[in-house]
Subunit: 462 residues, 2 copies
């Protein structure tokens, strides 16, 4: 009974705050924002260009440069108060033109496998590598096997994403260490290469790339790393049960070049009352090279641009300075996010709110927040305003990688949380393409982001 009494009490305290916040002006403003996005939205048109006219935009590539120019030009057309490019040095890694793997189940009996190099991997020797496989369920199992069983072998990391987790990002979080640190760990035990099961909840033939790191491993211990499709991983694992000494052949000629200059792209509507308090909204302009990066993170880029365009369209003049920031190099370095935060600190720009969209262009469900209780409670009091738009998810949690470096006391960080069920079907693979994005879902996301920015601007940060 104690518990019940407490909840009545709590609800009693929160209810007046809720009632206060639902005023008609805010409701009308949100309705205008959603209408403008769904009827005259530009986000889908921009994404079409970014995906179909430019395509995959890995940091340091020609396409990444094209994406910088295109988004700068489009922001220039919006009549913002300022638009500029912020220089940032980024890593340059290329996949090369050879990616080839097979399993050899007997002398001369080979089956080709779909693989792709992990981002940042070294090449194999020009003739490729061929070795027996050791299948493990993760880094712990690798450690338990030790040098004796690993040396000279190719390690096959095959722990699948957990299907019974409702939020697929949790399932990703529970597996991605194999991809990110697998080569570093296996290299320590003298492995000659690694193959990682793709971070994908679906069974299909697409290998999924993604960032990896050798940490401070000496060059001599850096071994080539590739991802295999989920169907391929199942086939390999099943075949290994029958033929434990099968050999795996891998050839890839990816290459790391010296850093090159690239840019974040920034646009600003200067605040009418608090011009030196900044609220930013962003996504990342770079993508992996396999698909066209429509969900990761073309969607976040065009939604963030749309936030400022929608404000202009409905004639809303923000009190705080609102910036769209299109970050370069989230995928393999986070240099853009770090540079933006560093420059903000150097220029003593007071950032009070940052929102990122980097979880795909699917139907928005809400946001997760990294902030104190006072701010979280204020945000929660806006729930009823979002209800007509089926936005229901307001939880504490992560925000976004690019805005992470801005973290400090008092800032509110937020991440858009779209429906996540299909995200890892496309993530970092050849089928992260424009046709997988639904126009309305993308536009609903942009409107939801704009609504939050509007409310944060109106009621301020606590």
């Amino acid at each position: 009974m104690k518990k019940i009494f407490l909840s009545v009490l709590l609800v009693g305290l929160i209810a007046p705050a809720i009632a206060q916040q639902i005023n008609e002006k805010d409701s009308t403003m949100l309705r205008e924002i959603y209408n403008a996005s769904l009827i005259n939205g530009k986000s889908y048109h921009w994404l079409d260009h970014l995906s179909n006219k430019i395509g995959g935009r890995l940091s340091g590539s020609l396409n990444a440069g094209k994406a910088v120019r295109y988004t700068k030009e489009e922001l220039d057309k919006l009549g913002l108060d300022k638009v500029w490019r912020q220089p940032v040095m980024v890593p340059k890694w290329t996949r090369g033109f050879q990616e080839y793997a097979y399993m050899e189940t007997g002398p001369g009996v080979t089956t080709e496998m779909d693989v792709c190099a992990l981002g940042g991997s070294v090449a194999t020797a020009a003739v490729g590598i061929k070795a027996e496989l050791v299948e493990v369920q993760g880094i712990e199992e690798l450690a338990s096997l030790g040098k004796e069983k690993i040396e000279g072998k190719i390690v096959f990391f095959n722990r699948p994403m957990q299907a019974d987790l409702i939020q697929t990002f949790q399932a990703y979080g529970g597996c991605v260490d194999q991809r990110y640190s697998g080569a570093k760990e296996a290299g320590k035990y003298g492995a000659v290469g690694i193959v990682v099961r793709s971070m994908n909840l679906r069974e299909d033939d697409f290998p999924h790339t993604g960032a990896m790191s050798y940490g401070d491993l000496p060059k001599s211990q850096r071994i080539p790393a590739c991802a295999i499709s989920t169907n391929g991983a199942n086939q390999l694992s099943n075949t290994l049960k029958l033929i434990p000494n099968l050999k795996f052949y891998l050839k890839q000629n990816c290459k790391i070049f010296p850093d090159v200059e690239s840019h974040n792209v920034i646009g600003e509507i200067t605040g009418s009352q608090f011009p030196d308090k900044y609220m930013i909204v962003g996504g990342h302009l770079d993508s992996w090279d396999l698909g066209d990066g429509s969900h990761d993170d073309g969607a976040g880029v065009v939604q963030s641009m749309e936030v400022l365009r929608l404000m202009k369209e409905i004639g809303y003049k923000p009190k705080h300075s609102i910036r769209v920031v299109l970050f370069m190099n989230e995928e393999n370095g986070l240099r853009g996010g770090r540079e933006y935060a560093e420059q903000a600190q150097l220029k003593r720009e007071n950032h009070i709110f940052a929102l990122e969209s980097d979880s795909g262009g699917f139907t928005p469900r809400g946001f997760s927040f990294d902030c104190d209780d006072a701010n979280f409670n204020q945000i929660e009091s806006w729930r009823p305003l979002f209800k007509p738009y089926l936005i229901h998810y307001f939880e504490k949690g992560g925000s976004g990688a690019d805005i992470g470096p801005l973290k400090k006391d008092g800032i509110v960080l937020a991440g858009l949380r779209p429906d996540s069920q299909r995200y890892f079907d496309h993530h970092h693979s050849e089928n992260d393409t424009f046709d997988a994005v639904n126009k309305r879902e993308l536009e609903l996301g942009a409107a939801t982001m704009t609504s939050l920015i509007y409310l944060m601007d109106t009621y301020g940060v606590k």
Copy 2:
């Protein structure tokens, strides 16, 4: 302030109920249900067969018969207490092998257009029909034009679905009268045919079919009716502005046959405490003939079958009799739904709860209910149980067409409400296909339905 006081009071009354209901047993049961569906689910496998091995299943077709046999066989394997087919006479309409249309913008200058006959339409004359077009935004405008301007013309209904409505079913509801009653109304004014803009929020090249009715119009006034794709409708409308006297040609040879026998397919787990109180869950087995009916309503069929399979798998023995009912002929007659309700009444079977899934296999968001306040409040008190699964939508509203005939005092009717943004991209068209269904989304829907049935069975109907 009055308003605030009231909400505190209301919440104060509801909160204890909420607290009571979240007991550990229920939480654990829901977790088991979701796990079983996501890890060992059969719904996606069944849908693969229904969609890819059988395909479109229009009432009275060979495929509809195959779907009856297949689902009966699969239910037979589940070890239910009873499985049977319930005979029902259904209409038989065939599309024929000719569907052809063009606009003629000058002598001999023609442009082909993508069209499909509406379900139930009569054929054109064997040589087709050719006439000038009158574009209208709906039935009201048609009436305002009157016989003088309509006679001898083809009426082009071109009111689009409203993009700014968040729930796409509302946008559908605001347009579908053009498709359902357009030919009946235009026929009264002496039109020779109608073309209807497809019920689709996307701009693409797929014409969408669907049910239409001539009401009690005499045979002589029944005119052929077809749908045109949204791109086609835009093109036609734009061309009409330039060339108002362009002619439209349509040829189709669809045909209505005498009714034929078909079946509902029913499976039952007999209740341990209340064997003569029935709770049913269902979808409809028939589909339109253009795609393979994966979302409409293959998804609902396999999810409903999965509800009973999941109960068996987790070893749950219901107190009430739980039936899965796979209805025949929702699309063009509702004969299955009517027959089931009629037989239930004849046999004095006391139905207390019915749940339908007929809104696509997308990520579930919740349910809408047609019931009294006492039952709705009980259901609302279960919200916290569903929160971990991101199920948040519990509203009063419609349920499902097939279970509608069961409506009576005291029964609770419910409809699964999945995310609706993509639904009308696929609905009744050639691209309602298996690849548009995501395995996890389908499985989450099945688990959500099973969870509601479990709770209704456990706590009963008020």
